[in-house]
Symmetry: C2
Subunit: 422 residues, 2 copies
Amino acid sequence: MAPEKKATLLIKNIGQLITMEGPVPRIGDKMKEIDLIENGGVAIAGDEILAVGKSDETAGKISLAEGCKVIDAKKCVVTPGFIDPHTHPVFSKTRHDEFEMRLLGKTYQEIAAAGGGIRASVRDLRETSVPILTEKTTHRLDMMLASGSTTIEAKSGYGLSTESEIKSLEILKNISDTHPIEIIPTFLGAHEVPDEYRENRAKYIDLLIKEMIPTIAEKKLAEFCDIFCEDGVFSIRESRKIMQAALDNGLKLKFHADELTHSGGAELAAEMGAISADHLVYISNEGIQAMAKSGTVAVLLPGTSFSLNKGYYAPARKMIENKVVVAISTDCNPGSSYSESLQMMITLAALHYKMTAAEAISAVTVNAACAVDRANRLGQLRVSRPADIIIWNMLDYRELPYHYGVNLVNKVIKKGKVVYGQ
Amino acid sequence: MAPEKKATLLIKNIGQLITMEGPVPRIGDKMKEIDLIENGGVAIAGDEILAVGKSDETAGKISLAEGCKVIDAKKCVVTPGFIDPHTHPVFSKTRHDEFEMRLLGKTYQEIAAAGGGIRASVRDLRETSVPILTEKTTHRLDMMLASGSTTIEAKSGYGLSTESEIKSLEILKNISDTHPIEIIPTFLGAHEVPDEYRENRAKYIDLLIKEMIPTIAEKKLAEFCDIFCEDGVFSIRESRKIMQAALDNGLKLKFHADELTHSGGAELAAEMGAISADHLVYISNEGIQAMAKSGTVAVLLPGTSFSLNKGYYAPARKMIENKVVVAISTDCNPGSSYSESLQMMITLAALHYKMTAAEAISAVTVNAACAVDRANRLGQLRVSRPADIIIWNMLDYRELPYHYGVNLVNKVIKKGKVVYGQ
């Protein structure tokens, strides 16, 4: 008989305990449902959840280990740790100059001509040492954690050479070994065609397929392969070829799709069984139908539309109505959206996607777990699941979108340990 | 001969020391100028600035007191402490339900009919005990301080009775005695006509003029008097009468003007020599000319337009071009803009007002000092001024609008003491 598990951490007096225990993914009207226990309590044994329920009952059902830490939530809200399913955190230089150029009316072409865009970050990443990149990336992850993200997907894609793509992914792997945030790595060598292949893109695609993807897969440096599928970057035909190589090498798929124009990326992602298709500002009705059918998660990035300030936002409500699985992410990157905070994204999703607080919470917990293929492990507060938990400084979960631009987190718990807000 | 002042705190190795030492206020193109010392240093003696300059020179010119604390800014940015010139922080209940009703398409009238709006906060304030209001207000001030605001203007206006307006202002006074934030109190009894006077507004105006204003002035509970001058709230005629009483009682003037429609509030504010007119979403060309002429500061509240999400923003560029003194504020309040962060407002000012980082910094330092009639004391890093200073986690001040939704503050210093980020 296994020894009885004892609680090492107890959170009591929770005003609203949001468990998200219901259906996964949350589709259509189900996104509006919030699984809420008033006067709740959560008991944790080691890195797992031991009990979830009414505060009194939870305390009564379990026994406490010696030295069990007890946290009084003071009637505040507790939710699952947030999952950020689309980030580009490995870079050194900020690109604040491009932000200012944009607000002064410069076009994408003018900014690129002045040396800006993804290629600026590629030069930066290649030139910058591993210790500096590690320090800067770690600082960003610290800020994500402080904002409530306990798991993130993180992409390479500013290297665009075998060596520097490996460098990015190894930095993520090394940080992952010690940082509380759980990192799910994605290879994004197909983010752009680098300068040295501008005149011979076929050769770069060859490099991706024959060298980069097999090497990354063999070294187990990435779980996903992503691509910027867009007219002028990688076409549908090129994307199909590259992503087939990724599948052949055992990588799961994500797509940057329909971000700048409708190019059919959503349809291709659905056709190829991608786990997610992201951005989708210009998704077509056919794309929406295809994603609903395939179950490919739509990862929406409201901060990118906000920060680029063009006035176009992904048709989130249409996707929800058509039963697409919708998640939300920061897109944290030095060009189009430099923010580590999913709280900020929840406010933007409310204002610009017209998503309620409950829908937005679904989108950064259970549905975001689906977007990183962790639906069976993350995004819910349930017995035996990892104890990834946020204790908030608010009495009602609907304060999340409304009270904006500040950090409402009180404490973050990752795998049973308080990692922010001691 | 006075004894030589010795440094009690030294900040060295500042990558960009933003002193804002130039002209005050910053008008027109002057707003674009940033006073920046590379490799700067600041020495502080007690609560005042002792020296400002190049890091090496500053250190060479002064002598250090025993136990002088030295902070290495690690090449980061240092600015004056921010000044938030328009806040409503004294309330208990959040109004997150109204935020959600708005995004679901409910009108202002429907929300009011459901018990929402300013009158909901009036019921809340009257019912809530002083200790609870004090605790909640203090928490908001802690968040403002953490975001870099070292001075705020704070209004009453959810009491709307002599007793409860005094209660609000006394809460601010008591917090001010111990909290690091400097609070400049404003009486806003003319925020709305309370329920009990809906059928007899003349009687409420009489109460304002004959009882509330003289009592508040006599008790020295407020430095400013503010009014919601708007069709349907207080008309131009009523506003002139009420604000004349404020002037007669020695209070300085602020106006909520042209927020929902063009009602001529800006013109009246200018005519009456108000220190500031705030909101100004619907200001007329005549209003702009009048304010430029009178020197009345335009306090713009981008968060209110953002949070209400109607798509209308104050014509900031037009005001800047026409030489109006422009400041920015959070409007922190439970209805139309619940945010404590001027950093967030700087991002919104960039995206929606097209203000550069330099202009926005002018707007929350020197020009915000003008908006609270403290131009000679606050908003600049100069010898003998109060040592109100922000040390940032960024290498370039232009990161401020661009890196959004998170707190970029490393440390906040108020009157020479590190009060956030030890």
